[in-house]
Amino acid sequence: MADKNHSIKKVSIICSKGTIEDVYAALVMGNGAVMEGIEANLFFTFFGLEAIIKKRMDHLHTGVIGNPAMRLPGGSRMPTWMGVIPGMEAMVSSMMKKEMDKLDVPPVSEFIELFVAGGGNLYACKLAADMFKLKKEDLSEHVKGIITVGQFYEIAGGEDSHIIFT
């Protein structure tokens, strides 16, 4: 058990990728933090922004090409060429979502609601939002602001605070 005086008080998690597994890793970490009574911020940048774009957040995919850990049902490795078959990515993605649902992992929009209900904060990266031509109204209503890296560091500061990049 860690030193009680220095237990984690705040985590700021940066989500920079938009695949199902990358986004869920950030959401599970963030929601897990608020459930422990730890202050939590989620900061979405670059392709991670997919997770907070209203129209896209519940339609994320998993990449099937260039992922050597991808397995077929039964456990053998999925050959790279198989990933280019039309519909493969959609099929794998829907299987991932189905398996997660069995474990009571909610869809992204509902997960974000749970996180916010627990007091968690959501932010979007200004540079990436500008690059992708995104406006506040394109994003989930739970996003507190589109902020710069400087503002992010201000928010992330404080004693026993941690920054996690995913």
Binding site: V28, N31, G32, V34, M35, E36, G37, L103, D104, V105, P106, E110, F111, E113, L114, A117, G118, G119
Partner: protein
């Protein structure tokens, strides 16, 4: 195995203070544990504790998502009822083991 005395009754708990024998739990005991956690229990709290105990007895995994489905309170209110680490606190007061789910 540790023991603790709540409301004049000695109960078996683990090293984190969670009940190892949920059948030893009573409402009076719950009030005492809650006091230790700085919470004054209301009827809503008891409704929630009963819900959690029922879910546990029927062998279901407890999760924060499940609270929304309980029909008792929403997640936001749940966080307010058991401030800090809500599911951990609520299960402790409900006299059931600490939840093992990540969501």
């Amino acid at each position: 195995m540790a023991q603790k005395t709540y409301a004049g009754v000695t109960v078996e708990v683990n090293e984190e203070g969670y009940f190892t024998n949920p059948s030893q739990w009573t409402k009076e005991i719950a009030k005492d544990i809650a006091k230790e956690e700085g919470i004054e229990l209301t009827d809503k709290h008891f409704e929630m504790l009963e819900y959690l105990r029922n879910r546990f007895t029927s062998g279901e995994q407890l999760s924060i998502r499940g609270i929304n489905k309980s029909g008792i309170v929403d997640v936001k209110a749940f966080y307010q009822m058991f401030p800090g680490a809500p599911l951990k606190k609520a299960t402790k007061i409900a006299g059931i083991p600490k939840p093992t789910s990540c969501v």
